[in-house]
């Protein structure tokens, strides 16, 4: 299973990130996780949110440049070596990871790692074969 990640173009101006986050907050959107990729000129804000469709509509209305990407959300036991095992499974299958970021939840007490890979279906099936679940939309958006 994959979930929607929203990416937002963030121009390199002081306060721009705050503006974007405020737009979402004012629209009643909860942020589940975020990461920022930065270059010399601009940043890419990547978000997992409570309601991706609504978030997209709000951001587009505010003239932000956005894109939606399917990413994997993998629940990971909060124990040493858990992430290493998953990374090893992916690397043995020669699936390269473009980027990844993690967040911890209060409710379930476990962590999630978001993976962006080239071939989602293959990554999901490799993980499934090794009894690693990937979280679906309902599980993540409603955290």
């Amino acid at each position: 299973m994959t979930i929607d990640q929203i990416s937002v173009f963030v121009e390199n101006n002081p306060g721009r990130l705050a503006e974007i986050v405020a737009i979402l907050g004012n629209g009643g959107i909860d942020l589940r996780a975020m990461s920022i990729a930065d270059t010399a000129d601009f940043g890419i804000l990547r978000l997992i949110v409570s309601d991706p469709k609504q978030a997209l509509a709000i951001l587009r209305a505010a003239e932000c440049i956005v894109s939606v990407t399917q990413v994997l959300a993998v629940p990971i036991e909060d124990a040493p070596g858990s992430l290493a095992r998953i990374l090893r499974l992916l690397s043995e299958a020669e699936i390269s990871i473009e980027y990844a970021y993690a967040f911890i939840t209060r409710k379930q007490g476990n962590a999630y790692v978001i993976f962006r890979v080239e071939d989602n279906p293959r990554a999901v099936s490799i993980l499934a074969q090794n009894n690693v679940k990937t979280a679906g939309a309902d599980e993540i958006y409603d955290l």
């Binding site: 173009f9 270059t39 894109s67």
Partner: protein, 431 residues
Amino acid sequence: MSYYQPETECASQETLRAIQSEKLVKTVRRVYDNVAYYRNLMQEKGLTPDDIRSADDLSKLPFLSKDDLREAYPYGLLALPLTDVVRIQSTSGTTGKRVVAFYTQNDLDIWEDCCARAIVAAGGDKNDVVHVSYGYGLFTGGPGLNGGSHKVGSLTLPMSSGNTDRQIQFMLDLGSTILCCTPSYAAFLGETILQHGLQDQIKLKAGIFGAEAWSEEMRRDIEKMLNIKAYDIYGLTEISGPGVSFECSEQTGMHINEDHFIAEIINPQTGEVLPEGTKGELVFTSISKEAFPLLRYRTRDICVLNRQPCSCGRTLIKMAKPMGRSDDMLIIRGINVFPSQIETVLLNCGFPANYQIIVDRVNYTDTFDVQVEMTPEMFSDTVKRISSREKDLVTSLRAMLGISPKVTLVAPRSIARSEGKAVRVIDKRKI
């Protein structure tokens, strides 16, 4: 005081005028007979060669612009069969903007003589080592000064541009005495030499710097850093290349080689010829060219002419450093850049034509930034994909312009618009 060709460089004004009249009349007749493009232009004004009896009749002739050169590209203004032509040089830029100039052997000789006059005016003779760091190739800088240096009989180092360490090594090993390059590169060489503490080991005494605008302050800095006297030189490919005019020891303007090029100053709006000493657009007529003579070519450079007696003894009229342009052309690191070229590349690469060019000068080197508005189509969640699109754009811009800008992707609608019209060029250079 030394001159390369004193008989013309110091000729009386009457003699110069007589030379100009004779050559102009011949050139007009020749292009009328041989070049359909000129014949049509003249016929449109109801002119025949008989109407041009002396240099005083010059203002009757129609103007020629860069657009004419593009329209006639490549052979439309050639005044001789190609069998008589031996060389081509070209301005920077491609598709639609390129201008090609043709030379016979005699044209090359005259061009090189003009550069030789500049070298001698800068104190050069056959004992000098002339270090040419202008680019060689289609660009006229390298070939022009190279040829001039040969004419003078100096030892010529055809260094071409780039590879600063090697430039300095040759300068030290071979004892270069005269440096020819763009002023910004001269400043860069000077800074590098100072950084390495080599200023006492170089033997430079003079520099001939052109192809881009530079200030008096920059001249003084270069002179101090390199411990030389820095001379300005002016030219354009269409008319021949560097050496159309050159500076002398007085350093108060550039003497125009009037036996080969007649200069006029016009009002860029009306085309009216303005009296000497008035600021306006510089227009050249090349009267010695065999292959590619241009009548009343509008340079778009704004400047002033002055025929006050010069302490160097030359009687050739002087032009001030150009003070600006009457069109939207930018000269960045010596390269001609039109905003429309950038627009073409953006559209070809799938970007919107919302852009802004920001030119500045940092440490005497032009910086060239192109800001482009990001679009949803261009955007991606990975830096890699965006960077690769950005890189493709830089490569295409470089291919079009011959110079690499720094591309910055900015937010949509963030490029300033005034009265609904976008401001395409911000030139922050103080020259």
